[in-house]
């Protein structure tokens, strides 16, 4: 009986199993790296066209996997959504459901070769009808659009700035990198201008300061200035306010909202704070265990949450003016991402299961023009669009 119990422990693997996993990982990683090298040497394989020209980014069944020592972790597995031009898309979900991995796949900042985008397309609009498929784009091309056409604000302002360089120099660097024709004075003027734009009063002083001389909120402003410096088409804000206190959080969000209008850009806002999403986002994408389970406009999601997970999330946030003795919490936790079953990932925590839930993973169901949900409860109510496409291990 003791032996049986050990087998159920998912973090326990035998030496044989571990050896098999690392052999498989090595083989797959080598193959994928080769395939990638081949694809990135050929412009045809990474130049594509957008499905809808008004989108900045289109995620199309993106699969990003990590080849870890305990098995393949499908951190993102068949994610599809769009970021329309000049809009804010909020991505919400619990920790570990693939929000950050989605954004890192878009920037191609994953730790290769362990982390790989193994399937699907991420189409990034370059304007004039052309688009890049990020999954196949070589690093040399990525360097031109990172920081220039899309930039990222990270969640930890305390550690995201290099401690040994002056703030001004760090912003100068990105401006002169993407605008090689600018003279040093022009770059500096632009940096000071950016610092003013993000609401730093003493911009000349901050220009010469080191990151450790600034507070967390100020550092996040510097990060935002850096992200905006080249007027990108898309800003990815990866939990930009998580490390800040509530007052500063409100200031930073206000600033982002304000700047979005001024600079005319799209924002992909990753957060697990529903309040932030309600405040900022035009569209909301709810992720769970590496898949999109519901997406729609902010109104769809907040006024008509359909997926049991979204409903649970809504119920678990405090509402002003409403007295409750205890906040709701969704039972259980996110399942182990290794060896996911092929039924609805939320089934084991769901309180609204129907018969079909024990079967196949639910498809994306269209509830309205903008509202999509992946739940069998709506099978009859809407049009079935598509099942999320994962990659078969044999096809790799």
């Amino acid at each position: 009986m003791i032996f049986k119990k050990q087998k159920n422990n998912s973090s326990y693997i035998t030496t044989k199993e571990s050896r098999r996993i690392s052999a498989l990982n090595r083989r797959l990683m080598r193959k994928l790296e080769k395939k990638r090298a081949l694809a990135s040497s050929n412009p045809n394989s990474y130049m594509t066209e957008m499905k809808d020209k008004d989108n900045v980014v289109e995620f199309d069944n993106v699969c990003t996997w990590f080849f870890s020592d305990v098995g393949i972790v499908k951190a993102v597995d068949g994610v599809s959504f769009n970021v329309p031009r000049r809009s804010t898309v909020g991505i919400v979900g619990e920790s570990g459901c693939g929000k950050s991995v989605t954004s890192l796949s878009l920037m191609q900042l994953l730790q290769r070769p362990q982390g790989q985008t193994v399937g699907g397309e991420i189409r990034f609009n370059l304007g004039d009808g052309k688009a890049l498929n990020i999954a196949n784009t070589p690093n040399s091309e990525m360097m031109k659009i990172r920081g220039n056409k899309m930039s990222m604000i990270f969640q930890e302002p305390m550690t995201s700035l290099n401690p040994v360089f002056r703030c001004g120099d760090q912003i100068d660097e990105i401006i002169s990198l993407h605008n090689p024709k600018m003279s040093k004075e022009e770059v500096k003027t632009r940096t000071i201008e950016m610092l003013n734009l993000v609401g730093i009063a003493n911009s000349n002083g901050v220009y010469n300061m080191y990151p450790h001389e600034l507070s967390g909120g100020m550092r996040q402003r510097v990060m935002i200035a850096m992200a905006l410096a080249c007027t990108p088409e898309l800003i990815i804000a990866d939990e930009p306010t998580t490390a800040l206190d509530v007052t500063i959080q409100a200031q930073i969000l206000e600033l982002l909202k304000d700047l979005k209008e001024k600079v005319d850009t799209s924002i992909m806002l990753i957060t697990h704070d529903l309040g932030v999403v309600a405040n900022m986002a035009d569209y909301v994408v709810v992720m769970y265990a590496g898949r999109v389970i519901e997406k729609g406009t902010a109104e769809d999601i907040f006024h008509n949450p359909s997926h049991p997970y979204t409903i649970g999330l809504m119920r678990s946030k405090p509402v002003v003016g409403k007295k409750v003795s205890e906040l709701y919490n969704i039972p259980g936790s996110v399942p182990n991402p290794v060896n996911m079953p092929d039924y609805c990932y939320f089934r084991d925590r769901c309180e609204m299961c129907v018969e079909k839930c024990s079967g196949k993973y639910p498809p994306e169901i269209k509830l309205s023009e903008t509202h999509f949900v992946s739940c069998w409860r709506f099978e009859q109510e809407g049009e079935i669009i598509d099942y999320p496409k994962s990659v078969k291990l044999e096809d790799l």
């Binding site: 900042l109 990525m142 360097m143 990222m152 700035l161 290099n162």
Partner: protein
């Protein structure tokens, strides 16, 4: 900054005073006393009229051994402050002269090894960190472990076996060939240089491993930090990320090690020098210690102590240069 340096210098003098006292006390209590063996030798000489005990009393008075530890130490300080470090008992020449004769051989040897160590270990450590878990990484790791684990005498012997016995490229020891006198000036230089090769190689091989591992660990830590991801997100090239953003941060801990190796440059390397019969300071200091040569040992250890204190001060100053967070205003 100036005030900080002054404060530190003042503190260093204070520390030095006590360090030298401990050294003197240890030398004084050593079981092999130069004076005693001298007395015994003189007593057994033909025509000696005094016994060993009588000689001892006389010599003790002559060499200042009758003052006790504190008295003797204060006497040493008094003369040393006047710039007089006395004559070496073992070599019967002024201490400074003997020191000057041997130190440069050791310094050049250590300096070559130091430069080689940095030039190989730091880039190798960085490459290993960049390609973590690759073949290169494992190769570097294995070589550094070998370097750390093998003792000097083993490495030296293996090198001698390969390069001197089997290949016959270099002499097995010593500092000059037999025909040294007959050589031209340039020939003499080449001859001396060829005798430096094996000791320098040994020193490099034994010291390279730890620095390599140290660089690798630090670089890995830096490469996994958030600001490196920021640098990549800016669109910087990989080489710029590594050489500019990451390297400056790796330098911070490396500086401590390099600052700490300043005394090592002058203190010589006892084992290596002995193994290759290399007449450097390591060899000289070893013999002065086992013969109980107090003036020479005191001078040598004072020199090393000053360098250690200075090395610490220099690494503190360099810290402030590379890391703005520790700058004193």
């Amino acid at each position: 900054m100036g005030e900080f340096i002054l404060k530190r210098l003042f503190l260093s003098i204070f520390i030095l005073f006590f360090v030298m006292f401990i050294v003197y006390a240890l030398m004084y209590s050593l079981p092999t006393s130069y004076v005693e063996s001298m007395a015994r030798e003189l007593a057994t000489k033909p025509g000696s009229t005094k016994s060993a005990a009588e000689w001892l009393v006389e010599l003790n008075a002559q060499y200042g051994f009758d003052r006790g530890i504190v008295g003797g130490y204060l006497q040493w300080i008094k003369t040393a402050l006047a710039g007089d470090f006395g004559d070496s008992w073992n070599w019967s020449v002024p201490v400074v002269e003997e020191f000057n004769k041997t130190i440069w051989y050791s310094f050049i040897l250590s300096f070559i090894a130091f430069i080689l160590e940095m030039a190989i270990a730091i880039p190798a450590g960085i490459i290993a960190a960049r390609k973590q878990y690759s073949l290169t990484d494992y190769t570097v790791t294995v070589f550094s472990l070998i370097g750390i684990s093998l003792p000097t005498f083993f490495t030296a012997t293996i090198l001698k076996l390969i390069f001197s016995v089997k290949l016959g490229w270099f002499d097995i020891g010593g500092m000059q060939s037999r025909n040294y006198i007959t050589l031209s000036n340039f020939g003499k230089f080449l001859d001396l240089a060829s005798h430096y090769v094996l000791p320098a190689l040994t020193l490099t091989l034994v010291s390279i491993g730890s620095l390599m591992r140290f660089t690798r660990t630090n670089m890995l830590e830096v490469l996994n930090s958030d600001y490196i991801r920021t640098a990549r997100a800016k669109g910087l090239s990989e080489s710029r990320v590594i050489n500019h953003h990451a390297f400056r941060n790796t330098l911070i801990p490396l500086i401590t090690i390099l600052g700490g190796s300043l005394p090592g440059l002058f203190s010589g390397s006892l084992i290596t020098e002995t193994l290759f019969s290399f007449r450097g300071i390591g060899y000289a200091s070893y013999y002065s210690m086992i013969t109980g040569d107090i003036p020479f040992t005191m001078f040598y250890l004072m020199f090393v102590s000053i360098l250690t204190l200075l090395g610490n001060l220099i690494s503190d100053i360099l810290y402030a240069v590379v890391d703005p967070r520790v700058r004193v205003h």
